[in-house]
Symmetry: C2
Subunit: 194 residues, 2 copies
């Protein structure tokens, strides 16, 4: 799946993990250069400015996210299973600390100090994810496997907010299990008729 990772790829991968740790102003070109093993200035050859780098990084993140959701749809046909798989994916990411936070959720918290072009990408991710969750909830409600009051759209926003809040709590408490403590009852409730 992964090709012969280029320097540009390595810069993006490194920047992503630094971004997940401390946000937009939490890392510098020097940090990346140190890890990738090139000079500070060489990063500018691939990405003229920091906002270019981050915008590209998010664009790739969004591609991967959409591919992940598509994969998940092929793997599971049941809407409830799709939601469970989505949550399990993040539970695993948080537990093994490989990517313990959604890049866009983290950047969203710093929107007032972000370059406009980055904000647009972040917002687009929120819309994409919300739309996907909404469609899953919608089909689950139609076939009677998922239960909620109100619209699928509203429930999708609430679901997404809970997942993001769960990431935050897991980080705040320094306890990966907290993510599951918050999300499992949520899945349980959606799967139960009441």
């Amino acid at each position: 799946m992964a090709g012969p990772s280029t320097t540009s790829d390595e810069i993006l991968r490194c920047a992503r993990s630094l971004l997940i740790e401390g946000g937009y102003n939490g890392f510098s070109y020097a940090d990346i250069a140190k890890v990738v093993g090139i000079r500070n200035a060489s990063i500018h050859h691939h990405f003229p400015s920091k906002s270019d780098l981050v915008r590209t990084l998010i664009a790739r993140y969004r591609e991967e996210a959409e591919a992940g959701l598509a994969h998940l749809e092929r793997q599971f046909t049941n809407p409830a299973d799709r939601l469970r798989a989505y949550v399990s994916y993040w539970q695993a990411c948080i537990a093994d600390a490989s990517a313990p936070f959604c890049v866009c959720a983290l950047l969203a918290s710093q929107i007032p100090v972000l370059p406009e072009e980055v904000i647009l990408e972040v917002r687009a991710h929120f819309r994409t994810l919300s739309a996907w969750l909404s469609s899953v909830l919608e089909s689950g409600a139609r076939q009677g496997s998922l239960h909620f009051t109100g619209t699928a759209k509203a429930e999708a926003e609430a679901f997404m907010a809970s997942v993001h809040g769960a990431m935050l709590s897991a980080r705040a408490y320094g306890d990966a299990k907290m993510f599951g403590v918050i999300t499992h009852p949520l899945l349980e409730r959606l799967a139960t008729r009441h």
Copy 2:
């Protein structure tokens, strides 16, 4: 209520609003100095280091938060009303943009790059808030006005996560109403027997 605000107070107040906008690395001493109308170096007289400043800022924030919750308990005796008032408070803060994010929730997202002493304060706030919500939910369940499956502790964590996630979504979409879209059904569900 507010005394003759000192320079130290102004620094803290200014730093808080800058912190809410862009996190720990999103503001500098120069930013504060510009707003407060003193020189960069003068801030060090009141707060030797940035971590001192932020730690003090959070300590005060936590005091205000606890006072706010205590006030809210005096104002409302019904647990459901207390939850509603808590949510309404944040809805108002977000709507008028006075403080559109919880200081500790924002800092929690950047925990990996925060000074240890700041992390401890942030974590303490999460515990305080969770404990308060837990006690409200507990008493609501006992008297039959709030309904949920599972423990009050788990429901409190889920509630807190939803509120934090709702702040994030409101910021991401640039739409204060999103906070209500997410939190109202949550309150509704807790107040309804099912």
